[in-house]
Amino acid sequence: MKHPLFRPLAALAALLLIALFTIPGFFSITIRDGHLYGSLIDIVNRAAPLMLAALGMTLVIATRGIDISVGAVVALSGTVAAMLIGGGPDAQTPMVWALCAAMGAAALCGLWNGVLVATLGLQPIVATLILMVAGRGLAQLMTDGQIVTVYHEPFFFLGGGYFLGLPFSLSVVAIVFAAIALMMHKTALGLFIQAVGINPVAARLAGLKTAALIVFVYVFCGACAGLAGLMVSSNIKSADANNAGLMLELDAILAVTLGGTSLAGGKFSLVGSVIGALIIQTLTFTIYSLGVPPEVNMVVKAVVVFLVCLSQRSAS
């Protein structure tokens, strides 16, 4: 009962139950052409970019920070990749290099944020606000506000392909999750991040490299956002600098909070954030399937944010 993952899991279970009773065939999974299909698969697939963003955001929030530029980075990375690959059936730049360039740009954005917060001591919301404004503008500049369609087939695999019967995007999330979870387990990264988030003064006096840690979490967040951007871009087979990743940072923050990580920093849960992302996606899907206008989603999200924050206050 007291396990920190209890609440998010209970919430997810409750949602799935509601979906089960209100949406016919919600839990059915069929196999076609060796691929698994079904509502559940759909949910997980669509949640993949959010899961990535939430993973990155978790570590930033754990250090008492916040990154509201995530959406802009998503737009930027998709744009860089699409522009480099070009609109023809053959890639203008080898796809591998295009993807690397996009990821590099995303990581650079994270570095920018991290340096502003760690060395200049800017408030995280202020520092990331700058990139939120300028980053999307940069993406829009590069595409001149137009949607850049990609026709290079291999690019679609990232967002739309299948691997072992499941959407490839899942595998990507699984790999990133495994990598960061491994780092948490095998190294002292988790301990250090928590220490910095709970008491940065004591952490410094104990000999931790607080500045380096803070820069790292922002770079990781940027990279995750970049990967999410590639996924989104691949999914819609184009780069939409205007709309890609719009409001994603808000969903990511919500996912992290739902997963049990406190906005005040300190202890965090990567699994919780993933569950949080699934909750949000299940909510969206259920609302959509029930024929309720999807915008009602926003009202529900708002109420959920209030409730989660209030419950965090009473718990602490």
């Binding site: 990264l189 250090f192 004591a202 410094r204 104990a206 000999g207 931790l208």
Partner: protein
């Protein structure tokens, strides 16, 4: 003459600690009454009870004969008790005039009347003989002037009792004189002033009467003229009247070569140039009153603060300690006196807190295996007698004393060559104190250099091989083990004329 303010039988407890125990205080009109005591003596808790921040568990507060029970700072203010704090508690971004009148602006046609505000503010400050541009921002003035503004505000709200909580900690000599002129004037006008400080010279310069607090109790109330410096210092930090005599320390082994040498180490506003040597296997005690610069010295030696001048040599080479990592690399560890804010990472477990410094030194990638962490934690729990349900319980749920032991273990785990302990036994019961100091002395004899800072003189005298006395942010005397006797040390600490 009857007292304006009288406290009787005031007690206040918090979970795990009795902050005030049956404290009495009397304030008469037209006097400056100084409240003295070391950290943890209960001064600030008493002030908080007086100003309505805390409600006492028992006891009465009487003002001009009537019992009062201030429930908040506004309440206390309305009752006539005004407080000026060390950090001034004004709004730095607003003008001087505005700060004086916040919440009570002079109005004209319902609007804030700036001209009247400025004129009245200037007049109020004139009464304190302070003439400044009242429309300038408060933060553009030094702290001393800001305090004058705070005092003006307090007076304007018609205070009958003025409490000044450590007002002189950040002031220079001239500014202190200015403050004292103002206080004398107010005293002459019949104001009852409660002055909290730890500076001996100032106490003797301004006080009429002194109340000494120690360990949450009122040690006594004295007329200033009747209490010598020596006696006062003795009451604050000397051998307590009826306390258990701690076992005498066995003679220490002869110390080895010099481990660390500091020359002309200084930092603006914290420490005047200081020379310090410490040898391997030596316990160097650092004593003095609160504010004498002991913690500042420790922080400079650990790299927690960066020195403005001077050098630190470890072995042959000089190292600029720009951050704690530099010092840790040289094998130095530091147990801060503020364990809650600078030591314990409250939400993390005992085990995690314990291995933190060692892990930090090993780096991110080479994680200490869980089993090794457990073994280490259990080992120290046993060695230091840490009372905890489990090594996985959050350190925040341990008592202060046990938290301190965990933090000590944190540094011991790094096998340091030198350990700086700043008030390691504060808030710990007598037996645990003995346990810790015996353990630490044992380490010392095995070759660790230890810099030991404490406010409790008997403890420092008992354990140190050498003793460095500090006063007013500089070193002012050194004693070898053979010369250590309480009276002579107290003399040096007290300083000045008897």
């Amino acid at each position: 003459m009857k007292p304006v303010l009288e406290l009787q039988g005031i007690s206040k407890s918090f979970p795990g600690v009795k902050a005030l125990s049956d404290v009495a205080l009397r304030l008469y009109p037209g006097e400056v009454h100084t409240l003295m005591g070391q950290n943890g003596a209960g001064k600030s808790t008493l002030i908080k009870v007086l100003t309505g921040v805390y409600a006492p568990d028992s006891g009465t507060i009487t003002m001009e004969g009537e019992q009062i029970r201030p429930a908040s700072t506004q309440d206390a203010q309305r009752l006539g008790i005004s407080t000026v704090y060390q950090e001034v508690n004004l709004c730095p971004n607003l003008s001087v005039a505005e700060n004086i009148f916040i919440g009570r602006y002079p109005r004209k046609f319902g609007m804030v009347d700036w001209r009247a505000m400025r004129t009245q503010a200037a007049a109020l400050l004139e009464q304190l003989e302070v003439r400044i541009d009242v429309s300038a921002q408060l933060s553009s003035y030094p702290l001393a002037i800001q305090q004058m503004v705070a005092i003006s505000r307090a007076l304007n709200i018609s205070a009958r009792v003025l409490i000044l909580d450590e007002p002189t900690s950040s002031l220079d000599e001239a500014e202190v004189q200015l403050l004292f002129r103002v206080l004398s004037k107010l005293r002459g006008q019949g104001m009852a002033i409660l002055f909290v400080t730890h500076f001996l010279d100032q106490t003797y310069a301004i006080s009429d009467r002194i109340t000494v607090m120690r360990n949450g109790e009122r040690e006594g109330e004295y007329a200033c003229s009747a209490l010598t410096r020596l006696a006062l210092v003795n009451k604050m930090i000397g051998a307590p009247e009826a306390s258990e005599q701690l076992a005498q320390q066995a003679k220490a082994a002869t110390p080895g070569p010099v481990f660390l040498q500091a020359r002309a180490l200084a930092r603006k506003g914290a420490l005047l140039p200081l020379d310090l040597d410490i040898r391997e296997g030596e316990m160097l005690g650092l004593c003095g009153l609160l504010g004498s610069g002991r913690t500042e010295t420790a922080r400079l030696l650990f790299g927690a603060d960066k020195a403005d001048a001077g050098s630190i040599r470890v072995g042959e080479r000089a190292f600029p300690f720009a951050s704690p990592r530099d010092a840790i690399e040289q094998g130095i560890g530091f147990c801060s006196e503020d364990r809650k804010h600078e030591g314990a990472i409250l939400a993390l477990s005992v085990r995690e807190n314990l291995i933190l410094a060692l892990q930090a030194r090993q780096g991110l990638l080479r994680a200490i295996p869980f089993k090794v962490q457990q073994a280490m934690a259990l080992d120290y729990v046993q060695k230091l007698g840490i009372k905890t349900a489990d090594i996985e319980t959050p350190i925040g749920s341990l008592s202060g004393g046990n938290q301190q032991k965990v933090l000590l273990a944190r540094w011991l785990a790094t096998a340091p060559r030198m350990l700086i302990l700043d008030e390691p036994t504060r808030g710990i019961d007598v037996r645990a104190k003995q346990e810790i100091m015996d353990y630490v002395s044992g380490l010392c004899r095995k070759g660790m250099a230890i810099l030991f800072i404490s406010s409790e003189l008997p403890e420092v005298l008992r354990c140190s091989d050498r003793l460095l006395v500090m006063r007013d942010r500089k070193g002012c005397g050194e004693f070898q083990r053979g010369e250590l006797d309480e009276t002579s040390v107290l003399h040096v600490i007290a300083g000045g004329a008897q």
